[in-house]
């Protein structure tokens, strides 16, 4: 059993010992506890590394963009919670640092052009592929698939409006942090939508294997 799974099972058995509940309810609580603990560790590590590298806002922007879109569009998964935490934190922090470093050298017009291309690509991918399920959580109900696709499109519309607002605010006040957050949101959308595609699955699988090899060594 994996470490986080052990931890969540221990927490659940300690809290609920001597309490009466059926097997189904216990299974639901264990599942919920594991996901809750994973969420907590994920967000805490993004915050800690964001503070260490001085990119807290940027890494949170990437993380929350991916979280919001992923909830409805699905995507590729790692088969270990430990590697999932490492990859998630690395993506948010590393790309925030990169964006932070190169932001001053990229012209605003180029950023807007790139944002439009990313949005067009993302709408196309979501319309074509979302929701992408996994063997651990298959989505077989057609009604649910339709609902999740509609929700993904709604989230994309919300993100597009947010990006438009950020660009208008940047033009008006020229605060560089607004441009950085805009770029981070664009990256988050691009990363999440790429993870829905076949090449995205392949790249993610390669990263996962490399990490598996490094951890074993």
């Amino acid at each position: 059993m994996l470490l986080v799974e052990k931890l969540s099972k221990n927490i659940v058995s300690n809290i609920y010992k001597n309490s009466e509940m059926d097997e189904d309810e216990l299974e639901i609580i264990e599942y919920g506890a594991l996901i809750f603990i994973l969420k907590l560790i994920n967000i805490t590590s993004v915050i800690v590394f964001g503070i260490i590298f001085g990119v807290l806002l940027e890494s949170l922007a990437i993380t929350f963009t991916i979280i919001t879109l992923r909830k409805y569009s699905g995507g590729v998964h790692s088969d270990s919670p430990n590697r999932c935490i490492i990859i998630g934190t690395f993506i948010s922090t590393f790309f925030s640092v990169i964006i932070n470093k190169i932001c001053n050298y990229i012209p605003f017009d180029f950023v807007i052009g790139l944002a439009v291309i990313i949005l067009v690509f993302s709408y196309y991918i979501i319309l074509k592929l979302a929701p992408v399920d996994s063997p651990a959580k298959p989505i077989v109900n057609m009604e649910m698939r339709k609902k999740l696709k509609s929700m993904s499109i709604l989230v994309m519309i919300f993100i597009s409006i947010l990006l438009l607002l950020l660009s208008i605010l940047y033009i008006k006040f020229t605060y560089i942090i607004l441009l950085r957050i805009l770029e981070c949101i664009c990256f988050g959308v691009f990363w999440q939508c790429s993870s829905l595609t076949v090449p995205g699955h392949a790249i993610m699988g390669k990263i996962d294997n490399i990490l598996k090899y490094i951890i074993r060594k």
Binding site: E5, V12, I15, Y16, S19, D24, E27, I28, I29, Y31, G32, A33, L34, I35, F36, L38, K39, N42, I66, I67, R70, K71, Y72, S73, G74, G75, V76, H77, S78, D79, S80, P81, R83, C84, I85, I87, G88, A130, P131, V132, D133, S134, A136, K137, P138, I139, L148, M204
Partner: protein, 45 residues
């Protein structure tokens, strides 16, 4: 007092964990890169 606190802890965590499980069940997946196997009883609901 200890029993009362344990009761509150049980009720609160039960609500949080169940809420997380049902919310994930209504989504495409968890937001992290790891998706634990969904319990069969949740797949039916």
């Amino acid at each position: 007092m200890k029993k009362k606190l344990k009761n509150i802890l049980q009720k609160t965590t039960k609500a949080i964990f169940k809420g997380t499980a049902f919310s994930t069940s209504a989504s495409a997946c968890t937001f992290s890169l790891y998706q634990p196997k969904e319990p069969k009883c949740l797949q039916k609901k």
